[in-house]
């Protein structure tokens, strides 16, 4: 099979050959320095599949099927990125907050809602970060965020601006509204399992992937084949980074140190 994925010229292709450039620098985009904020997950504190998360328990899709499936997804325009484009869902922009670990699960939730034709409502990562970190601009890991999203929900950006750390937004009414935006089911993927990650993407389930080499968490959105298997991600650095927030990570760089795949959110 000679098929290879189309990569947009604006997409970064990040692999072993160039990852240092990305690992060592926080970029300045549209005049603003971007932050990251991933802390390495403590699996002793939050073991795999603990809390409300379910351990990934499906058989993985065999690698010898991957290339054909990727070709079909691209030909039929049935990738999550295609659906996001039709739904008009743009990427997050965390700015100088250290909340990548909230932005990625939040974006996953927005994608799940878009796939289900829920109303397009942008959700405020800062509302969750402020509650978890007592209004401090600090890093964390995705499990903290997703547990909060499941228990209390998340406030829409129309009530709590995306990156605002101001206490005035933290009202009873805001959190009453947040109950409508709760995650209900997700998988906790085995760390360093690229096969589980790809299986989720073939099932059109977005995955928030924590990458220790980058100290960053992003959303994996499409499986890709280009000189080997790879993953299209959507970052939380606004539309000017990559192709409208999209870029490519090769298998070596996309293999996640922790990964969460939200499957269902409350329909409201």
């Amino acid at each position: 099979m000679s098929f290879e994925s189309f990569i947009h010229p604006d997409e970064h292709v990040i692999g072993d050959h160039n990852y240092r450039t990305y690992a060592d620098n926080d970029p300045v985009i549209d005049g603003q320095k971007m932050s990251r904020g991933l802390l390495e997950r403590d699996y002793d504190e939050r073991p795999l599949g603990s809390g409300c998360a379910a351990k990934f328990d499906l058989p993985t899709i065999p690698r010898d099927e991957w290339r054909e499936r990727i070709e079909e997804m691209e030909r039929t325009k049935s990738r999550l990125s295609d659906l996001c484009d039709v739904a008009g869902l743009q990427c997050k922009n965390q700015g100088n907050t250290n909340y990548c670990w909230i932005n990625a699960p939040t974006y996953c939730m927005e994608v799940v809602r878009a796939v289900q034709n829920q109303e397009l409502v942008l959700l405020s990562a800062a509302s969750v970060g402020c509650r978890i970190n007592e209004f401090r601009n600090q890093g964390g890991w995705g499990t903290w965020a997703i547990e909060y999203l499941s228990r209390y929900g998340i406030v829409p950006e129309s009530i709590w601006p995306a990156n605002s750390l101001r206490r005035e937004h933290d009202t009873e009414q805001a959190w009453e509204k947040a109950k409508r935006y709760r995650m209900t089911e997700w998988w906790d993927l085995t760390p360093r399992s690229f096969d589980e990650l790809m299986t989720c993407l073939f099932l059109r389930i977005p995955v928030a992937i924590g990458l220790t080499w980058w100290r960053h968490e992003v959303t994996a959105i499409d499986p890709v084949y280009k000189n080997g298997f790879a993953v299209r991600i959507r970052n939380s650095w606004g539309l000017s980074w990559g192709d409208k927030g999209y870029s490519i990570l090769t298998e070596a760089k996309a293999t996640p140190d922790d990964a969460l795949a939200p499957r269902t959110a409350i329909a409201a």
Partner: protein
């Protein structure tokens, strides 16, 4: 002999009132579609997934479905979704789809308020669109 015509009239009225509703799986005016699926199905074949998540299908539904407060009246729900905050019309539709499917997913309900259909999702997009268009 007793005149049975009033009884026949009552039966006719009942049929008119409820017979139409039973042939419209989502009993409200306008073109509506519900797709019920299982997001955690490992058995999902690639062809089925390509139809289920087709952006062309999404565009078609966005254009053709009646608008409910500006939002096209279609839903694609995992059968485990918590839909208790959705209107009763849609909750009932999901319940009916799950019942009709009998475990065969993905499953579709299409309705225009007068007629409709309830069927397993085909593996190709064209036959699906043809079947949906019959109820426009």
């Amino acid at each position: 002999m007793r005149d049975i015509r009033p009884f026949l009239l009552v039966i006719l009225l009942v049929l008119l009132a409820f017979g139409g509703a039973s042939s419209a799986p989502i009993p409200d005016n306008g073109f509506r579609v519900l797709i019920a699926y299982e997001s955690s199905s490992a058995e999902q074949q690639s062809g089925t997934a390509a139809v289920l998540h087709s952006s062309e299908l999404m565009r078609f539904l966005n254009e053709e479905c009646v608008k409910e407060e500006g939002r096209p009246a279609w839903r694609k729900w995992d059968v485990d979704n918590d839909v208790s905050a959705e209107p009763e019309l849609w909750q009932n539709a999901l319940e009916r789809a799950v019942g009709d499917a009998g475990g065969v997913l993905p499953w579709l309900l299409v309705s225009n308020g007068k007629t409709g259909d309830s069927f397993a999702m085909p593996d190709d997009l064209e036959p699906l669109l043809t079947r949906l268009k019959k109820h426009l």
